[in-house]
C-alpha cells in the first residue's frame, strides 16, 4: 500500500469518526501480499528486522572458535548446539576491546564498548546510544513499537541505551509482554473487520496538548535537560504513532498468527530452568510480534554482564564460578563454568530454531532478520576484554552473507558493530572512539 493510499484511508476513517463509533467492514485484502507471503504486492520484500541477543561472562577461549577461517566449516565444542544452523550464521573471533590505558570496570567496560563504541571513563556506566537504538531510530519509527526489550532473569535494566542514563527497560514477564503486544490495543492485520475506536482520537488530542506544554520550557532549559526532554518527546511521539496505527486498517501479513497467552511462565529469577522456560516464551512472543509487523527491533538479554545464573540447590552462581573455580587439569577448563556456557549456548540454539521455524512462504522469519549475538567479556576468569565472542545470525533479507568465520588477531570489536549498522541501512561510515574508532567494515559478510 502506498503512502497516498494510507493517508486517504486514514482521512476517510477520521471523517467517519466525527460522531459515534463505527464499524468499517473491510475485505481481507490479500492482494497486498504476493502469492507466497514473502513479499508485498508491489514486489518489495517484507521489512528487514534487527535483534540483539546478549549473554554475560563470555566463553572459554579455545573452546568456541572455529579452527578454520573463511568459510564456516567447523565449530568449537561450545558452539556445537548451533551446528544445524551453520549456514545461517557468521562467527567472529579475535575481536577485542583495547582499553586505551583506562581502568576496566569488570563486565561494564566491555558491554559499553561493544554496544556504543567507546571505552568508558572510570565510574561511567553508559554514554552514547547503543547500536540497537541507532538502528531502531533508522528502521523502527513507523511500527507500533520502536523496539521491544526482554530480560530472561528478572532484571528490568537492559543493554539498550538511548543516551546517557536513559535506557529502554526490559520486560521480565512473558505474560506482561503478551498483554503489551497482543492486548486490547492490538489490531490483527488479518482480521476481516476493522473497528476504529473514537476514543483513540480523543487520546490523540490529549497528547497533542501535552506536547504543546513543552513549548513553555523552551528558552529556559539547560543542555542536559534538553537531551532528556527530547527523549521524553520522542517517547510521546511513539505513542502518537501507536494511536495513529490504531486508526488504520493494518496491512495483511500472512505469517502473522496471533499467539495464545503464554502458559507456564515462572516467576523471573536467575535459576537456570526458570531462565530457559521464560526465554523460550519470550522468543516465541517476539517472533510473533515481528511476524505481525508490531516492531522491527528486539533486544533479548539472556543474562546480565555479570551473569547471576545459578543451578537449583547450588550455592555458587555462574559469575562466581568463573573466578573461583579452578581449571580442571585433565579437562583444561572450568567444569562448572562450562556447564553454564552449555545452557547459554543451548538457549541460543532455541532462539535460532524459533525464528527459523516461523515460515514466511518459502523462507523463514530468520531469513529477513539480523540477530547480533554478543557478550561483554572474553575470558571471564580474568575479566579479559580480548577475544570477545560475537556472532551474527540470519541473512537480513539478503543484505548479509552467512556461513563465514571471520578471524582476526585483535581488531577492534567495533568493526562488527559498524558492519551491523551498515547492513541495517544506517548511513554511517565510521564508528567508535580512540582505539575503538574504525571505518573498516567486515566486507566479507556484506552482500
Amino acid at each position: 500500500m502506498n503512502v497516498a493510499a494510507q493517508l486517504g484511508r486514514r482521512r476517510v476513517l477520521r471523517g467517519m469518526l466525527g460522531g459515534a463509533a463505527v464499524t468499517v467492514g473491510l475485505p481481507f485484502l490479500d492482494c497486498f501480499l504476493d502469492g507466497s507471503g514473502t513479499a508485498r504486492a508491489d514486489g518489495a520484500p517484507l521489512p528487514t528486522i534487527f535483534a540483539t541477543w546478549f549473554f554475560g561472562c563470555g566463553l572459554n577461549p579455545g573452546r568456541w572458535e572455529p579452527k578454520t577461517a573463511g568459510k564456516l566449516v567447523d565449530l568449537g565444542p561450545e558452539l556445537e548446539p548451533i551446528r544445524p544452523y551453520m549456514s545461517k550464521v557468521n562467527v567472529f573471533s579475535g575481536f577485542k576491546v583495547p582499553l586505551d590505558g583506562k581502568p576496566a570496570q569488570p563486565h561494564i567496560t566491555g558491554r559499553i564498548a561493544v554496544q556504543t563504541g567507546i571505552v568508558a571513563a572510570a565510574g561511567q556506566k553508559t554514554a552514547l546510544p547503543s547500536v540497537d537504538t541507532i538502528i531502531a531510530d533508522s528502521i523502527g519509527t513507523k511500527t507500533r513499537f520502536r523496539s521491544l526489550e526482554v530480560s530472561c532473569i528478572g532484571s528490568r535494566l537492559s543493554e539498550s541505551v538511548r543516551v546517557g542514563n536513559i535506557m529502554n527497560p526490559s520486560e521480565i514477564s512473558p505474560a506482561a509482554l503478551y498483554t503489551r503486544i497482543f492486548g486490547a490495543d492490538f489490531r490483527d492485520p488479518n482480521a476481516a473487520e476493522f473497528t476504529p475506536d473514537p476514543r483513540v482520537m480523543a487520546r490523540q488530542s490529549v497528547l497533542s496538548g501535552v506536547k504543546d506544554q513543552l513549548a513553555d520550557l523552551q528558552g529556559m532549559i539547560g543542555a542536559a535537560d534538553k537531551v532528556r526532554l527530547d527523549e521524553y518527546l520522542t517517547s510521546l511521539r511513539q505513542l502518537e504513532q501507536q494511536l495513529d496505527l490504531e486508526l488504520q486498517k493494518p496491512e495483511p501479513l500472512k505469517a502473522c498468527s496471533v499467539p495464545q497467552k503464554p502458559a507456564g511462565e515462572l516467576p523471573p529469577n536467575a535459576e537456570v530452568t526458570t531462565m530457559q522456560t521464560n526465554h523460550k516464551l519470550f522468543v516465541q512472543l517476539i517472533a510473533s510480534a515481528l511476524a505481525c509487523g508490531q516492531t522491527r527491533v528486539a533486544n533479548i538479554a539472556l543474562t546480565e554482564g555479570l551473569s547471576t545464573l545459578r543451578r537449583s540447590g547450588n550455592a555458587v552462581i555462574h559469575h562466581t564460578h568463573t573466578h573461583e573455580e579452578p581449571v580442571d587439569p585433565k579437562l583444561g577448563y572450568q567444569p562448572n563454568v562450562t556447564w553454564f556456557i552449555g545452557t547459554i549456548m543451548g538457549a541460543m540454539a532455541d532462539m535460532i530454531a524459533t525464528f527459523d521455524g516461523f515460515r514466511e512462504g518459502d523462507r523463514t522469519l530468520l531469513d529477513r532478520m539480523l540477530v547480533w549475538v554478543t557478550s561483554e567479556t572474553g575470558y571471564a576468569k580474568v575479566h579479559s576484554t580480548d577475544n570477545i565472542p560475537t556472532l551474527t545470525i540470519g541473512g537480513a533479507n539478503g543484505r548479509v552473507k552467512t556461513g563465514h568465520h571471520i578471524q582476526t588477531a585483535g581488531d577492534p570489536i567495533t568493526r562488527v558493530g559498524l558492519t551491523v549498522q551498515q547492513a541495517m541501512g544506517v548511513p554511517v561510515n565510521s564508528w567508535g572512539s580512540d582505539n575503538l574508532a574504525t571505518s573498516r567494515t567486515v566486507t566479507e559478510i556484506l552482500a
Binding site: P169, D216, I221, S384
Partner: protein
C-alpha cells in the same frame, strides 16, 4: 469508606478552596529570566504517594513503572539523569487513563470533583475549570497559568462534545496532566538573585517542592502551596513555620522511610532471590518483611524515640513478624488477633545483633543467592554506610588462588579470601572490604545466625581503620563511633534533597555547618532535617552548577553532538 472519602474530600476541597487564586495566577513558566535548574523524574514511590494524597488511597494505579536508576548511591540523584522511554510512556499512559477514569467515576466523583455539571452529557467549562485548576495545582506543584488552564478546559470541552460525556472530558484532560512533563518531572525553576549576582534563587514553588519531597516524599500540600504563593517561604520566619509544621506531621514518617529505603538500596530487593532448595524459609514475603523490619527500627529509634542516628548500629530493639522469627530462629508470640502482625522485640546480647547491619535487610541483600559474601558485605558497609568508594577490581586478575568451597584446605570464607588477598593486585581493596565483611559471617545469606561454616568455627574478629573488634557487635560500635558514618548520612541527605552530589562549595558548608548542627543536636534526624530545610544553602543555585549539573554521561553525548 465514607469517612475515608471525607478526608480526601477535605483535601480536595482545600485545594479547590484556593482554586480562585490558582485560576487567576500569572503565567509562572514565562517569568523573564527564569531558568530550569533541575528536572527530576518522580520515583515510583513518589508517584504512588502523590496519587494517594491528591485523589485518595482507593485509586488503583494499574500499570508498572520504568525502573528508577541509582547514581552516587541514590535513586534521588539518578532521577536527575533519566527521562521517559517509549516503553515507560506507554505505561504512564496506561496508568494515567486508569487513574483518571476512577477519579471521575460514579463512585468517586462526588468527592473528587468539586462541582456538578449542568448536564453529564455536555460541556461545562466553569465546572471543568474548577476541577482542573485545583487538581492541576496539586499535580504541577504550582498554579496553572491562565493559558495552561484554558488549554486543559478546551481538551475537556472538545472530548465532552465529541463523546457527549462531561466526565469523559474531565478524564481525558486529567490523563494529559498525568502524562505531562510538568507532573512527571519535578521542575525546579530559578530566577536571578537580585542581591547576589553569582547565584540564582529558586522560585517559591520550587522551594516548596524541594522541601516537601525531602520531608514527605510527596508534592506540597495546599497549605505549603499557599505559603509559597504568599511569599512566606522567602522569609526566615515563614520558612521555619512551614518546616516545623511539616516535621510535626505524621507524613514525616513517609519521608524518613523513603530516604532510608533509598540510601540502603532497597530497590535491589526486587530481584533478590535465595535458592529455595538450600534456604526454603526465605521467600518474597520474608524479603518484604526484612525491609519493613529495618524501616520500623529506624522510624522507632529516630522519630518516636528521637534517638541518636549512630545507635542504629548498636540497637538491640527491633520489630519482627513470625516469618522473620523463623529466619532469626526466634519463637515469637504474637497477639491472637494479629497472628501475622508485627511485635516489638529486644534481641538478647547472645544473638550477636548489631543494629541494622546484622538485620536481614542488610546481610541478605548483600549476599549471593546460595551463600554469604564477606566481600560484597564489606563493600556495602564502606559504600552505603560510610560513603567510602571502593575502587573497581583490575582487569586480567589471576583468581587461581581462590578455591571452591569443596576444597578441604579452604573450608571457610576467611580461608578462601585470605588466599585471594595474597595476590598483590587484589590486596589493596580486599583489605578494606573483607575484614569488616567477615565480621558478619555469623549471619548466613538469609540473615540466620550460625557459628560454624562447613563444620569449622567462624572467626569474626578483625579491624576497621586500625581499630580492632572481636565480633559484629564490636564492629557496630566501631562504625557508630566512626566520624565517617555521621558525615555519610549528612552528605547523603543533602544529595537526596537537591538531587545531585554536593559541589565543593556545598561540601564545605555541609562540613562546617550542617555536620556541626547534627552533632550538637545529638545526631537526631529531625535536627538534621530542620537545619537543612531552614538553611538558605539548601535552596541556593550557583550559576556554574547549572553547567556542572550535566552528568558526565550526558556531557559526552551533548558535546559530541555540538562539536
Amino acid at each position: 469508606m465514607a469517612k475515608k472519602f471525607g478526608i480526601v474530600l477535605a483535601f480536595a476541597l482545600t485545594a479547590a478552596g484556593v482554586a480562585g487564586s490558582a485560576l487567576a495566577s500569572t503565567d509562572v513558566p514565562s517569568v523573564p529570566g527564569a531558568r530550569l535548574v533541575g528536572m527530576r523524574r518522580i520515583t515510583q514511590d513518589q508517584y504512588r504517594q502523590i496519587i494517594a494524597d491528591v485523589f485518595g488511597k482507593t485509586i488503583k494505579l494499574g500499570g508498572r513503572f520504568e525502573p528508577d536508576q541509582r547514581d552516587a548511591g541514590l535513586l534521588a540523584v539518578g532521577a536527575s539523569q533519566v527521562s521517559v522511554t517509549a516503553s515507560g510512556f506507554e505505561q504512564y499512559d496506561d496508568m494515567a487513563r486508569a487513574i483518571a477514569a476512577q477519579v471521575v467515576d460514579e463512585q468517586h466523583r462526588s468527592v473528587t470533583v468539586p462541582c456538578i455539571p449542568r448536564s453529564v452529557q455536555a460541556t461545562d467549562d466553569a465546572c471543568a475549570g474548577k476541577f482542573l485548576g485545583s487538581v492541576g495545582r496539586m499535580l504541577y506543584r504550582r498554579p496553572l497559568s491562565q493559558r495552561e488552564l484554558a488549554a486543559e478546559v478546551k481538551i475537556a470541552s472538545d472530548v465532552a462534545d465529541r463523546l457527549h460525556d462531561f466526565y469523559a472530558g474531565l478524564s481525558m484532560a486529567l490523563t494529559g496532566m498525568l502524562e505531562s512533563a510538568q507532573f512527571l518531572f519535578r521542575q525546579e525553576v530559578a530566577t536571578a538573585d537580585a542581591g547576589d549576582p553569582s547565584h540564582l534563587a529558586l522560585d517559591s514553588y520550587s522551594k516548596a517542592t524541594r522541601l516537601s519531597f525531602l520531608l514527605w516524599n510527596s508534592g506540597p500540600d495546599p497549605l505549603l502551596l499557599d505559603a509559597a504563593e504568599h511569599g512566606e517561604l522567602d522569609t526566615t520566619a515563614g520558612l521555619s513555620k512551614q518546616v516545623d509544621r511539616m516535621l510535626a506531621s505524621p507524613r514525616l514518617v513517609s519521608g524518613v522511610r523513603a530516604f532510608f529505603a533509598d540510601m540502603l538500596g532497597f530497590t535491589a530487593f526486587e530481584g533478590l532471590a535465595k535458592d529455595p532448595v538450600l534456604y526454603p524459609k526465605f521467600s518474597a514475603r520474608v524479603a518484604a518483611d526484612a525491609q519493613e523490619q529495618t524501616l520500623r527500627t529506624i522510624v522507632d529509634l529516630l522519630l518516636r524515640q528521637n534517638g541518636d542516628y549512630r545507635d542504629l548500629f548498636t540497637t538491640q530493639t527491633t520489630f519482627l513478624t513470625p516469618l522473620l522469627g523463623a529466619i532469626y530462629k526466634i519463637p515469637l508470640t504474637t497477639p491472637d488477633d494479629l497472628p501475622d502482625g508485627w511485635v516489638r522485640y529486644e534481641f538478647p546480647q547472645a544473638a550477636g545483633q548489631a543494629g541494622i547491619i546484622t538485620q536481614a535487610s542488610f546481610v541478605a541483600l548483600h549476599s549471593q543467592p546460595g551463600r554469604s559474601s564477606p566481600t560484597v558485605r564489606g563493600k556495602a558497609l564502606r559504600e552505603v554506610l560510610l560513603c567510602q568508594k571502593v575502587p573497581d577490581p583490575p582487569g586480567n586478575v589471576n583468581f587461581a588462588l581462590v578455591q571452591d568451597t569443596s576444597n578441604p584446605a579452604f573450608k571457610t570464607a576467611r580461608q578462601r579470601l585470605t588466599a585471594h588477598r595474597s595476590e598483590a593486585t587484589c590486596a589493596g581493596c580486599h583489605k578494606i572490604m573483607d575484614p569488616i565483611g567477615l565480621a558478619l559471617e555469623n549471619f548466613d545469606t538469609t540473615g540466620a545466625f550460625r557459628s560454624l561454616e562447613n563444620g569449622m568455627p567462624i572467626d569474626v574478629s578483625g579491624e576497621i581503620d586500625g581499630l580492632k573488634f572481636a565480633n559484629a557487635q564490636e564492629l557496630g560500635k566501631a562504625i557508630r563511633d566512626n566520624p565517617a558514618a555521621t558525615a555519610c548520612i549528612v552528605n547523603r541527605m543533602y544529595s537526596y534533597g537537591i538531587g545531585r552530589s554536593a559541589t565543593k562549595e556545598e561540601s564545605s558548608w555541609i562540613h562546617t555547618n550542617l555536620s556541626k548542627d547534627f552533632a550538637s543536636g545529638g545526631y537526631g534526624i529531625k535536627v538534621l532535617l530542620r537545619a537543612m530545610a531552614t538553611s538558605d544553602q539548601f535552596y541556593r543555585v550557583t550559576k556554574p552548577e547549572i553547567r556542572a549539573e550535566i552528568p558526565t554521561s550526558l556531557r559526552v553525548a551533548f558535546e559530541g553532538e555540538h562539536k
